[in-house]
């Protein structure tokens, strides 16, 4: 039978010496992530400029930059979401999308005909219009942080339609995709510098804890590593 060990050994061998401790100072983590962004600005492929500004601002409010380190924006969550729009997921190819599309109680799940990319297209336009209506014509991205948070809280708790998407549903789509971007392997475009994983103390693709099954509550000592072998 074919055994996986040779590939694995090669991979882990490449990491020896570079594995670093995960208890970074906040400053170091942040600096790393910003370097990753500086390496080359990302040009969105799906979102237009207005949508892109909204998305960047909204992701950052959901997962803000603070004393713990970088927020969703410098971690690449908007880039992640943009890239996801052109996957089978973004096109709704993982969902049952045949009609009729009926109104049903919420506990019976999603019943709209829109794939994620259309949820965003309709949702962002309407959410931005809502922001302008309540803030003298200023778009969401131009509001200060606390006003942006207030708008998102409105959306989170509202049944108001954004296009054909209920506001709270659009908000939850945004929240989930933002967190996916922050915490997925960097190969998907987010989690730059592995700073999302470092924050939580998740070691990424190490996936071998033979000696760490029970160390009586001691913290796991090794920092994260990505699928491509990048370390924090």
């Amino acid at each position: 039978m074919k055994r996986p060990s040779s590939t694995r050994r090669r991979f882990m061998g490449g990491l020896l010496g570079s594995a670093s401790f995960w208890l970074y100072s906040d400053h170091e983590v942040w600096a790393d992530a910003l370097t990753a962004v500086d390496a080359g600005p990302y040009t969105p492929r799906y979102f237009n400029q207005e949508e892109w500004r909204f998305l960047n601002a909204a992701c950052e409010r959901i997962f803000p930059t603070d004393a713990h380190g970088p927020g969703a924006r410098s971690l690449g969550a908007p880039e992640f979401i943009d890239r996801q729009m052109d996957t089978p997921y973004g096109h709704g190819k993982l969902w049952y999308m045949s009609g009729p599309f009926l109104n049903a109680p919420e506990n019976l799940g999603y019943q709209l005909s829109l794939p994620p990319r259309d949820i965003y297209r309709q949702g962002i336009a309407a959410a931005d219009a809502y922001a302008r209506q309540h803030h003298d014509g200023r778009s969401f991205a131009d509001l200060d942080a606390s006003a942006q948070t207030a708008v998102l809280k409105d959306l989170e708790h509202s049944e108001m339609p954004l296009g054909s998407v209920p506001a709270h549903f659009f908000f939850e789509q945004l929240r989930q995709n933002t967190l996916e971007g922050v915490f997925s392997d960097p190969l998907h475009g987010g989690n730059k510098g592995l700073a999302g994983w470092t924050l939580l103390g998740f070691p990424g693709a190490r996936a071998d804890f033979m000696d760490w099954v029970n160390q009586q509550g001691a913290p796991y000592p090794f920092g994260p590593v990505s699928i491509s072998g990048e370390t924090a």
Binding site: L94, Y96, F209, G217
Partner: protein, 592 residues
């Protein structure tokens, strides 16, 4: 259409189908397995490190059923209009060679013997009036003693790790004292307890319960099974549930059975073959074969066989029976028919305890089948008399490897914010210093909870979707609430700084948006009476005796344990009787 012929057709290449295919080829039959999904091999889907990708694995479900082709519709009550289950969430059916057996977790139980004759036992202990109105409580019509050799066989094939309590009547280890007697030891010693589980073990014992390490189909040491295939030792990587184990340590049909079958000239595997129906003769008394859609050529193909094994997973089994006209569809109003009757699930709620910030639970470390449980409140192990409900739940710490995306989306819990300011603080504390305890319990069968064909929605092949009519009922909600109340003292004894107890709410509706378990059951249940069961004690259709329906579809009610150990034992039990009785004299094995 071109007609071809084989001795036996097996629908679905998951656990049940692989076991039946193995047994029937051993009996000398030519066997064709039809699997609608892709072929799958650990060398590809489990390739390290690319397989260690939470986004593609457990979040975008790359190994699971793609609902765009076919799904089910769901409603809570008979009067409602059912709507499609459009996005995977509450339960996660498999697809492709290995079925859900490729991406399961590996908790590998036998059965609580009392559960096999639950109706008889409840009546004997509490009287008939104890059974609530509308509950279809039934016996399996098979005993633990009859099944024991097949539980033993399945554990040896799966390479199961565990600690016994008694073997042949003698105390042999520190296993579950409520577990039934065993003919032999587990093939491998129990998995180690992760830190959280070891805390639970000590605390539960201090409170007076009887903790034991879960039996796991994760290999605690290198192992070669009776079919000559090898497993490597589990390293607690935490990528069981939703993934193909790259260490060859988690039992799967792909690792534990199919390698020995693939070389057998009597075995044929056809993938991308979606079975549309089992073909019956004009009297609907005999199956002549199946019609499947070749998903590559889009051609319908007819395949003839003397024996048809329906092993496509619990609700797909029922769907295929309804589409084919095998047996009488259940009608909840007239209370007639059996196919679709007694559709059941499993109750589960997850409570959380936070430890002091000096204690790291390292929740990413774990194996899907490993953990520590108590059975003090499972099955009939406690007095239901004053409580007034039927059923129970094991309670456990089953730290299977908490991944960051799922943890972050789930949020820090309690009253902490789910995003924005304050989220990171709370999330870091929860991820690093908390642990979870599940009450994973039974769910009884009810007259108005069932499966039938949807009148409106169809799949990509033009066939009606299966419709689920399901919600939680008072008996099971009260059972869950009672068992969860027993978790609190354990959390306190563990030294939790705070905790949140999750229970089903009174009148809570089944919510399809939240993962619960993929432990669906019933709909084609086994039993002694053809009026209330679709298959007999050998899982043979009462109506079409050359069709056997293998899977959790045979469970008359949902049990506290995870189902696959029981599914595998029933598969070996049925196969044994096909080999020793049916093939010598094909026909009904039980007279109605």
């Amino acid at each position: 259409m071109n007609a071809r012929k084989t001795d036996a057709i097996v629908i679905g290449a998951g656990w049940a189908g692989s076991i039946l295919a193995k047994e029937l080829t051993e009996a000398g039959l030519s066997v064709t397995v039809l699997e609608r999904g892709d072929d799958r091999a650990t060398a590809v889907e489990g390739d390290y490190p690319s397989s260690i990708d939470e986004l593609r694995g457990a979040i975008r479900h790359r190994l699971f059923q793609n609902l765009s082709q076919t799904t089910v519709t769901i409603r809570n009550t008979v009067g409602q209009v059912a709507v499609p289950y459009r996005r995977l969430a509450a339960f996660l059916p498999g697809e492709g060679v290995g079925g859900a057996g490729l991406h399961w977790s590996g908790v590998h139980f036998r059965v609580a013997p009392d559960d096999l004759a639950l109706r008889t036992n409840v009546i004997a202990r509490y009287g008939k009036s104890f059974i609530p109105e509308g509950m279809n409580l039934q016996d399996y019509d098979v005993t633990y003693e009859e099944l024991e050799p097949f539980f033993d066989k399945a554990e040896k094939v799966f390479g199961t790790s565990g600690e016994p309590y008694t073997i042949q009547g003698k105390i042999a280890g520190k296993g579950n004292p409520f577990a039934p007697d065993r003919s032999d030891a587990f093939p491998l010693p129990a998995m180690k307890d992760v830190y959280s589980a070891s805390l639970f073990k000590t605390a539960a014992a201090n409170v007076g319960y009887h903790p034991y390490s879960l039996p796991a189909a994760n290999a605690s040491a290198p192992y070669t099974n009776p079919y000559g295939v090898q497993m490597g030792p589990c390293n607690f990587c935490g990528y069981c549930s939703g993934y193909d184990c790259y260490m060859y340590s988690k039992a799967s049909p792909n690792v534990n059975i199919l390698p020995s079958l693939r070389q057998d000239p009597k075995f044929t595997l056809i993938t991308k073959a979606h079975v549309l129906k089992v073909n019956l003769d004009s009297e609907k008394k005999k199956a002549t074969g199946v019609t499947y859609l070749d998903l590559q050529t889009r051609q319908q193909v007819e395949l003839e066989a003397d024996l048809v094994i329906v092993s496509a997973f619990q609700f797909h089994n029922v769907h295929l029976m309804l589409l084919s006209g095998i047996g009488q569809p259940y009608d909840p109003v007239a209370n007639t028919g059996t196919v679709g009757r007694n559709f059941v699930y499993q109750t589960i709620t997850t409570s959380r305890a936070w430890l002091p910030s000096t204690h790291y639970t390292n929740q990413f470390i774990g194996a899907g089948g490993a953990g520590v449980a108590i059975d003090d409140f499972n099955s009939m192990n406690f007095d239901h008399g004053p409580l007034g409900f039927v059923g129970g739940s094991p309670v456990w710490v089953n730290q299977a490897g908490a991944k960051p995306i799922a943890a972050a989306i789930g949020g820090p819990g309690g009253k902490a914010p789910a995003w924005g300011e304050g989220y990171k603080d709370a999330m870091v504390e929860t991820y690093r210093h908390s642990l979870t305890i599940d009450a994973h319990g039974s769910n009884m069968a009810y007259r108005d909870v069932y499966l039938d064909l949807d009148p409106t929605y169809t799949d990509a092949y033009g066939q009606p979707l299966l419709r689920m009519t399901f919600t939680w009922k008072d008996n099971d909600i009260r059972m869950n609430q009672y068992v969860v109340s027993k978790i609190e003292p354990i959390m306190k004894a563990m030294g939790a700084t705070r905790y949140s107890l999750e229970k089903l709410a009174t009148d809570q509706l089944f919510d399809t948006r939240r993962y619960q378990t993929t432990h669906l059951g019933g709909g084609a249940v086994m039993g002694a009476d053809p009026q209330t069961s679709a298959v007999n004690r050998y899982l043979q259709s009462w109506d079409v005796p050359n069709v056997f329906v293998i899977g959790a579809s045979a469970f008359p009610q949902g049990m506290g344990y995870n189902p696959t150990g029981m599914v595998a034992a029933l598969a070996y039990w049925s196969a044994h009787h096909i080999r020793t009785t049916y093939l010598k004299n094909p026909g009904p094995m039980v007279r109605a």
